[in-house]
Symmetry: C2
Subunit: 182 residues, 2 copies
Amino acid sequence: MDSETGPRLREIRSKTGLSQRQLAKASGVANATISQIESGALNPTVGMLKKVLGGIPISLSNFFADNFSFTDQVFFSADKLLQLGEGGVSYLQVGNHLQNKSIQMMKECYQPGAHTGKHAIQHEGEECGIILSGSLEVQVGDKTKVLKAGDAYYFRSTVPHHFKNVGREACELITACSPPSF
Amino acid sequence: MDSETGPRLREIRSKTGLSQRQLAKASGVANATISQIESGALNPTVGMLKKVLGGIPISLSNFFADNFSFTDQVFFSADKLLQLGEGGVSYLQVGNHLQNKSIQMMKECYQPGAHTGKHAIQHEGEECGIILSGSLEVQVGDKTKVLKAGDAYYFRSTVPHHFKNVGREACELITACSPPSF
DNA sequence: AAATAATGTTCAGTATAGTAAACAGTTAAT
DNA sequence: ATTAACTGTTTACTATACTGAACATTATTT
């Protein structure tokens, strides 16, 4: 019936290094259920899927938004969404050769606990962003606030700033800097 | 089990002006099923929910990302995400008083068929964007391309450009202009 | 090599999701 | 007022999601 969710669950589970039984224990469902869901032999209820994803953990929204892959084609010339970083924080940049351009737009992903380093960042220009999923602690100057999906920020980059994912799930956001900072 | 999806479905269905039976017919499921899902008496399978949402139409991703509301708090001073437009195209702007700022970041939503007008747009600066959901036909100069979720664009705004939603569902994207264009 | 502990898969039983049809209530037309 | 057409809800039935236990493989331990 829905041929996507099984393979998708398998892919995500594998990526996180969990076995079916580990995930089963963490989420409180039978391991057979996970096997059957992944193989497509079963059409899970949303309650069940939510329960299973709770063991990873990942939200339903993020699970189904997984096709937010950035691997597809990109508009204009050879501008690709480049994977710049690795590890706790990843950056996907819109366009390339930004040296003489004025905007640096990125989709960023902070793993749980990931942050921008012990020293606050400071550079020319301005920056802003919109949180897509998860939660992010944003520190700008002496102000600190935890932003959730749908929240946004805007500040002058000359003020020292620092980002940290304080939630249990990955935090995705889209940001823009002007001018590009690296 | 999952107490959110019922009320959420009811809310979305009501907003679109569909009755349970209309949606049932459009999606090919029993009206009783929709009633029971909405009342919470039933925990739908994802295949079933997908089928139901197909009659609206709205994707699973968008359905669960519904908490992408922009109504929550926003970081820094009184900067709110302002609803600027109405009708076929809506704009939610990050921050305000952008006259002497350098970035204009917005979350835009194009209803099916909606576009930026019969005359192409042209202004100073550069702009870019990332498609969150749906599909958008982007016309820049003599180049035209249909972008899907995860795709992105970047171009100089002095080149005449035009956006149009050519899909059946609403298209959401996040854009950035530098400098702000209005 | 034999034993132990993992891995994912298969199977019979039971709990429940989904259907079709009848029900009850509200609005519109005649 | 009575029909007619709509709204959402309830009910008995059947199709299937989910469980627990056994199964088959592969990797690690002793």
